[in-house]
Symmetry: C2
Subunit: 447 residues, 2 copies
C-alpha cells in the first residue's frame, strides 16, 4: 500500500516536511496544498529585495514543476483546505476530497493587525508573502513617507531597507524599546540609536490608534500623536493560523498556538492524535530553557520542525525537543542576535536573573578590520545556569549565538562554561579569549 | 601573610595566570620571570606582521611597566630560572633566590628541529618569538627563495605571508598532506590546492635530510631532492620545554608533555604536588573526546589554562576539564578550522570513525556575497557520538567550530545533534538550515 501524505501549507515548514517525507519513504504519494501562489522561498529576505540586494525571481528556489519532476511531490497552489475529516481521514481542498494516511498541518501564521479604524485603507500592508512584498514595492514607488507599525526585528529590517531606497521612515512602537520581547532594553537602545543616526525616526510608547485618510492612507495616530505618511506597514507580530485546527477540534495552547508533543502530533481534548502532525509558525512547543511552552516562529525553526514532521508522517521516528530559538537580524553594518530568554521573558516565566556583559572585538585587538562585539549573557540566579544571550556586533554574531544556544540547551552553568567550553583563535577571526568568555566571566563574578 | 606567587614564563599562559592571580588575591606579591625580552604579545600574528598587515609595536599589548603600575605584577625579563627547590619553596633566577608560596610553570615549548646536518647554518630560522620574527624579516629582505620545513598551519601561514611579499616559497613536508595531524586528507588537499594556485610550491612525502651551504644556506635536501633556497624556516612542531620539570623530578606524560591533574597540579612520582601549577604549551591534559591525554598547544588553550592556574595559585578553586582543542587558521581568502579528533588522530586512539560532509554557503543561496562553506563531521561508529569536525570556508568558520566543539564536549550523538541543536538564520548570515546540520545529517544517514 502506498502511503498517502497530505501537507497543508507550503512555507519553510511544509516544503521541508514534503522533501523529508520523500527521503524517508521513496514510494509515498505526497501532496502539498497551499493557498499561496509562490512556494519555496524565504519571506525573511523581503526587506533586502525591496532594497535591491536581490530580486523576487532569485529568492524563489523552486516551483511546483521542480517538486513534481525532481521529488515526485505534487503541489497544488492557490488551493484552500476548508476542512479535515479525522474519522474518514480526508481533506476538502476547494471541494476536492483527498484521502490521507498522514496529514501535516503547516498553515503558518498571519500578521496580527489590531482592530483599529482605517486598518483596511488603501496603502496599508503587511510583510508576509512575496505578493505582500511586491505590493509594497509597487506602492512605495510613489510614496515619500512610510510608517512602520511595530519595532520588532522584521519591522526594523523593513524600516532600514525602505530608508535605504530614499524614503522618509517613521517607526511606531507601543513599547518603550525596539525588539521588545526578545532583546533587553540596554541592547535595544543601541540598535535604536544606530537606526536613528541613519535617519530613521522613532515614536515609542505609542500604541497605534488609527490609520487615517479617505480611501488612501494620509496619516496614522498613535498615543495621541498624528504622523503623516503615504503608506503603512504593519509588522505587529505573527499569530498562528488556527482556522483548520479549530475546525478539527484540536487543543490550542496557552500562548495561542497549536499544542504539540515532541513527535509534533497535536492533541484533541488532551489526547494525542495519530497520523496528524504539525510544524512551523502554527505550533507552540516546549522551551529548553523555561518551565513552559514557547513559540519559535522562525524560519530556521520551521525547517527543523518540518524535518521532524516529514520523517514521522512517512513512518520514521524523530523528535522535536525543547528549543532555545536562536535568532539573528542584520541591519546595515550591525548584526543583532539572541537566544534563550531575554530578561523580560525570564521575568514573565517567573525566573530571577543575573546578567553579565562584555565588549571587545571580532578579531585580535591589533589586527586591522575588527568590528565591535558586545555580548550579554543571562543566568538563572538560583542555579547559575545560562538561560539567554544577546549579541550586538559588526559581524560573526550567528556562530557565537549558535554556540551559546548549545550551552543553554545543555543546561550549563556560567562556571561550567568557563571551565569546560573553549574557543578557537586566530588573530584575524577572534580575540585569544573570545568576548563570549569575558561576558560569562562577568556574569559568574556576580553569582 | 602576603601570598608570594612566582610564575616562570611570560607567554599567554604565564601572563594570564599572573593577571588572574591578581584578580583572585588583590594582596599577593606576584612575580613573573621570563627569558624573553618581550611579553604580552601574540606569536600567532607573526605571519601577518611579516606581510605588513600590522606592526611589531602594535602586537605588543603591554610592557613590564604596565604590569607593574596597573596590576602590581613584577616582570623580570631576560632572566632564566635555573632550578626550583621544592623543599625550601624557592627558585633560582639568574642566581637570585626567590621564595614562593605558589609556583606556576609556564615555560612553553620550543620548535623541534630534527638533528640534521646544516641545521645551525646562517639563514635557518624558527617562528616562535617576536625576535624570531624580526630576524626572519631582516634576512628576508635580501632573500629571493624561502624554504618552509613543515606544512602545519603555522608553516602554511608563514608560506603565504612570505609569498605575498614577493618571495618564491617552497614548502617541504615529510607527510603526504598539509596540516597532517589535525586535518583529514580530503580537506587538506583543498588547502594545498588553494596555496598552489597562489604560486606556492610543495614538496610532499619529503622528510628533511640536510640544510646545505658554506656558512650561509644555499639549499635543503629532502627525500633525495635538493631544493635551492636563500633561507629556511623550520615549523616542524612544538615540543614542551622540559628543562625545569626534569630538574624538579616531575612526571612527564606519554606524549612528552608535563602531566597535570585537572587542577593543573603536576605529579612527582605519581603523587600530586602541592603549591605548584603548570599551564600552556608545556602540559599534556585530558582529552574530552579520546580515552587518553592530549596536548593543545594553542594560544587560546594557554589563556584558558593560565586562568585556572592563576586562580588556584592564588588560593581559589578552578578546574581545567577535558579539551576538544578547537583551532582556526586564516590563509588569504580561506579559513580552515577544526576541533576534536581528525580521522588520523581517532585511528591513533583506536577509534572506528564514520564521517559526514556537506557543502553550501555562508549565507542564503540567493543573497549576494556568500562564500563557500564545507563542513566535515566525524563520529565514533560504535556510539554515534560526535568526535570531531573540520571546516573550510570563505568566512565565519570560528563560531561554527566553537559551536561544534560544544556538541563534542557534551558527548552529543549525530542524531541528538539533529533533534536538539538549532541555528539562527538571517539571509545575509546563514542558510536557513546551516551546512553544519546537513553535514551531521549526512553522517547520521551512515550510522
Amino acid at each position: 500500500m502506498v502511503r498517502k501524505i497530505v501537507i497543508v501549507g507550503s512555507g519553510a515548514a511544509g516544503m521541508t516536511a514534503a522533501s523529508t517525507a520523500r527521503k524517508t519513504d521513496p514510494d509515498a504519494k505526497i501532496t502539498v496544498i497551499t493557498e499561496d501562489e509562490h512556494i519555496a522561498y524565504s519571506p525573511c529576505v523581503i526587506p533586502w529585495v525591496l532594497e535591491g540586494k536581490t530580486s523576487w525571481n532569485n529568492i524563489i528556489m523552486h516551483d511546483p514543476e521542480y517538486y513534481s519532476q525532481e521529488r515526485d511531490i505534487e503541489v497544488k497552489t492557490m488551493t484552500k483546505v476548508h476542512s479535515v475529516d479525522l474519522n474518514n481521514k480526508t481533506v476538502d481542498a476547494n471541494g476536492d476530497i483527498l484521502h490521507y494516511d498522514s496529514l501535516i498541518l503547516a498553515t503558518g501564521g498571519k500578521v496580527f493587525i489590531p482592530p483599529i479604524p482605517g486598518k483596511d485603507l488603501n496603502g496599508v500592508f503587511v510583510v508576509r508573502t512575496i505578493n505582500d512584498g511586491k505590493a509594497i514595492e509597487s506602492t512605495m514607488k510613489d510614496a515619500d513617507r512610510v510608517a512602520i507599525i511595530g519595532a520588532g526585528a522584521i519591522g526594523l529590517e523593513m524600516a532600514l531597507a525602505i530608508h535605504n531606497v530614499g524614503k522618509k521612515v517613521v517607526v511606531v512602537e507601543m513599547m518603550n524599546q525596539v525588539i521588545p520581547r526578545v532583546l533587553d532594553s540596554d541592547m535595544a537602545s543601541e540598535v535604536q540609536c544606530y537606526l536613528e543616526k541613519k535617519g530613521i525616526r522613532f515614536v515609542m510608547d505609542a500604541p497605534i490608534q488609527s490609520v487615517n485618510g479617505d480611501d488612501i492612507v494620509e496619516s496614522v495616530t498613535a498615543a495621541g500623536k498624528t504622523i503623516p505618511c503615504d503608506m503603512v506597514i504593519f509588522s505587529t507580530g505573527v499569530r498562528a493560523n488556527l482556522e483548520l485546527p479549530k475546525q478539527m477540534g484540536l487543543d490550542i495552547g496557552t500562548l495561542g498556538g497549536l499544542r504539540v508533543a515532541p513527535s509534533l502530533q497535536p492533541y484533541q481534548k488532551g489526547k494525542l492524535l495519530n497520523n496528524v502532525f504539525a510544524c512551523g509558525d502554527l505550533i507552540e512547543c516546549e522551551s529548553a530553557v523555561a518551565p513552559g511552552p514557547t513559540m519559535s516562529q522562525l524560519g530556521s525553526s520551521a525547517v527543523r520542525q518540518g524535518r521532524v514532521a516529514g520523517i514521522n508522517a512517512a513512518g520514521g521516528h524523530a523528535l522535536h525537543e525543547g528549543v532555545t530559538s536562536p535568532w539573528v537580524s542584520v541591519m546595515g553594518d550591525i548584526e543583532i542576535a539572541g537566544t534563550g530568554l531575554s530578561t523580560g521573558l525570564a521575568h514573565w516565566y517567573g525566573m530571577n536573573v543575573v546578567t553579565g556583559m562584555s565588549s571587545g572585538f571580532t578579531c585580535a585587538r591589533y589586527y586591522p578590520g575588527g568590528k565591535n562585539l558586545k555580548v550579554k549573557v543571562l543566568a538563572e540566579r538560583s542555579t547559575g545556569r545560562l538561560i539567554g544571550a544577546q549579541i550586538l556586533s559588526g559581524k560573526d554574531a550567528t556562530g557565537r549565538i549558535n554556540w551559546l544556544s548549545a550551552a543553554i540547551l545543555e543546561r550549563v552553568t556560567a562556571r561550567e562554561f568557563l571551565s569546560r567550553y573553549e574557543n578557537a583563535y586566530c588573530p584575524p577571526t577572534s580575540m585569544v579569549r573570545d568576548v563570549v568568555f569575558t561576558a560569562v566571566e562577568d556574569l559568574a563574578s556576580k553569582l
